[in-house]
């Protein structure tokens, strides 16, 4: 009986473990996407033109500037806010989406090559909600710089230090807490300051847009931008999210299949254990039959036993499955957060009882077919 319960428990443990990992993994990816900030990215369109001389290919030419004119920003806002208003039925004429333009300049600071990013401080902080300043203060005013954690360490920059950007003197006023992203290696300065220093007035390298929410019509906005504004390319980050969710879905199905196979294998183990349990008790069955037990009553005894095995196995399998997820989960998804999933307890119990009952029916049927005389003769 204990072994049968153990067999059921191992089956349910695997199913619960796998499902718990899958659920926590999904939550992790959602969380990750939430952190991703922008859900729409606008970059300059690069038109590649194949050049030919007769039948001879002369290679590919990149046509067009690698910048977006800043004057398209109001247009982008108009499209983004318009689509969101339409989708969500908003009539308020104020700004809705956060639009954060960025200008990238690769330059040399203190002898090292570094990426300097021009940003609009307010918009940038709304998109990069995870930014924290570890020293000094956030960007304010002009001719100031906010340095990524790693860049600050590598370039030995502290607040108050001055850096030279193409002849303009900039003061470091803040250093970011490490984020684990590219931001750690970059230096952020106000957009106008960078544009002025490098003569890129009116130009930005990319525009990050954070629509109202995750459920916003980002594809529709992207399509509208692509159709109405030339020279730019808008990509909905949701596409990335959907691709990831697709992978997640396939993985979920795989895990279900894995759990199912384990359960089936466990089922045979339990049938085996139940069979030997019945064989051990052929004499007892004979005694009960001689004492007036009907086949149905014997059958019921074994089914009850199976239900008890199922309940024991289900509860143990649920606990062990969660423990399994706790141990194995972090190997599958880094930084995963495993918790008890309460709605898996009834699932686990139902599954365990079902498996135990299925496993009990055949041995119990066999048990009731034993003739009383044979039950005693076999001793």
């Amino acid at each position: 009986m204990l072994f049968a319960a153990l067999g059921v428990a191992i089956g349910t443990m695997t199913v619960v473990g796998v499902l718990t990992i899958a659920l926590a993994g999904q939550a992790r990816i959602y969380n990750e996407l939430e952190k991703y900030g922008a859900n729409l990215a606008v970059t300059p369109a690069i038109n590649n033109v194949d050049t030919h001389l007769g039948d001879l290919s002369m290679g590919t030419l990149a046509v067009g500037e690698n910048y977006i004119p800043q004057e398209t920003l109001p247009q982008i806002r108009q499209i983004a806010d318009g689509e969101i208003r339409e989708a969500r039925g908003i009539t308020d004429p104020g700004d809705i989406a956060t639009i954060a333009p960025e200008l990238y300049i690769n330059t040399t600071v203190k002898g090292s090559s570094v990426m300097v990013v021009g940003v609009e401080p307010d918009a940038e902080s709304k998109i990069k909600t995870w930014w924290n300043v570890q020293e000094g203060e956030y960007l304010e005013g002009t001719d100031r710089a906010l340095v990524g954690a790693v860049a600050a360490k590598l370039l030995t920059l502290n607040t108050g230090d001055a850096i030279d950007l193409n002849g303009s003197a900039i003061t470091v006023t803040g250093i970011l807490v490490e984020t684990g992203s590219n931001d750690d290696y970059q230096i952020f300065v106000p957009l106008e300051t960078l544009q002025r220093a490098y003569g890129k007035e009116g130009l930005v390298s990319s525009v990050n847009i954070r629509a109202l929410c995750n459920a916003c019509p980002v594809e529709i906005i992207a399509n509208a931008i692509n159709q109405n504004i030339t020279g730019v390319r808008a990509i909905a980050v949701k596409q990335v999210a959907e691709a990831e969710m697709g992978i997640m879905g396939r993985m979920n199905r795989f895990m279900w299949a894995l759990g199912g196979i384990t359960l089936v294998v466990g089922l045979f183990g339990v049938i085996n254990t139940m069979m030997s349990s019945v064989n051990e008790r052929i004499k007892d069955i004979g005694i009960m039959r001689a004492a007036g037990a009907s086949r149905n009553q014997i059958m019921r005894i074994f089914i009850y036993e199976a239900v008890i095995i199922g309940i024991m196995g289900g509860i143990f399998g649920y606990l062990a499955g969660t423990l399994l997820a706790y141990i194995v989960g972090p190997l599958v998804f880094e930084g995963i957060d495993i918790n008890f999933v309460l709605q898996y307890l009834p699932l686990s119990l139902a599954l365990a009882i079902l498996v135990a009952a299925i496993a009990a029916v055949y041995p119990a049927l066999r048990a009731t077919r034993i003739r009383v005389a044979d039950a005693f003769r076999s001793l």
Partner: protein
């Protein structure tokens, strides 16, 4: 009344064919005490099993109170086991995980009896002299006590016929005599008894002795 008409029992087929019983006939009136004697393998237990519906004959018929039971379906035999016929085996065949009282109550539980039945169980245990041992497990009882519990279990449904397969076979002479005394008392109270025994002294107490040899009735001795 029990009638056994031309009952044969054959095990196996071909060269492995064993004739356990061959054309056995006998009549047992209500309240009779019949002893069955014979060497090992003469078919005593097979006959008792067939009489009690624990086994089916290969041919012939068994009639209990005017009703054929040799061809009954398993579920109908359950009713006979629950009412008319009870068994006492050489081994007491108690369920080791249950107390003496619970073992006695087992037939009532299978009959679907409920409240008040434990008092009945205690009454019957008193009858076999074990009311003080009701809460004990079989492992805590002596062989004779275990057999008394088995007899109490057989009595709980008030059967008209008790089938006993060497009930004193495993006991010393003194304990065996006590058990036999109990059977005699039950017989006086009106229970019919068919008992297999090797002991001539025990058999003498029966109204009739049937001697089996090689599956046939070799003789009947009327002790009266």
């Amino acid at each position: 009344m029990l009638e056994v008409n031309n009952v044969s029992k054959i095990y196996g087929e071909g060269s492995a064919r064993v004739i356990a019983l061959s054309e056995v006939s006998l009549r047992v009136n209500d309240g009779d005490f019949i002893a069955i004697m014979g060497p090992s393998g003469s078919g005593k237990t097979t006959l008792l099993n067939i009489i009690g519906g624990l086994d089916y004959p290969s041919s012939g018929e068994v009639i209990l109170d005017g009703k054929r039971i040799d061809n009954l379906a398993e579920n109908a035999l359950v009713d006979i086991r629950r009412g008319k016929v009870a068994y006492v085996f050489q081994q007491s065949h108690l369920l080791v995980s249950l107390t003496a009282l619970e073992n006695v109550l087992l037939p009532l539980i299978f009959c679907g009896a409920n409240g008040g039945s434990s008092q009945k169980g205690l009454d019957i245990l008193r009858k076999v002299g074990l009311e003080k041992r009701a809460g004990h497990k079989p492992s805590e009882l002596s062989g004779g006590e275990q057999q008394r519990v088995a007899i109490a279990r057989a009595l709980v449904n008030e059967p008209s016929l008790i089938l006993a397969d060497e009930p004193t076979g495993n006991m010393d002479r003194k304990t065996g005599a006590e058990i036999l005394l109990l059977f005699n008392q039950l017989n006086k109270e009106g229970h019919g008894i068919i008992m297999i025994t090797h002991d001539r002294e025990i058999a003498k107490q029966a109204k009739e002795i049937i001697v089996l040899q090689d599956g046939r009735i070799a003789g009947k001795i009327n002790s009266e």
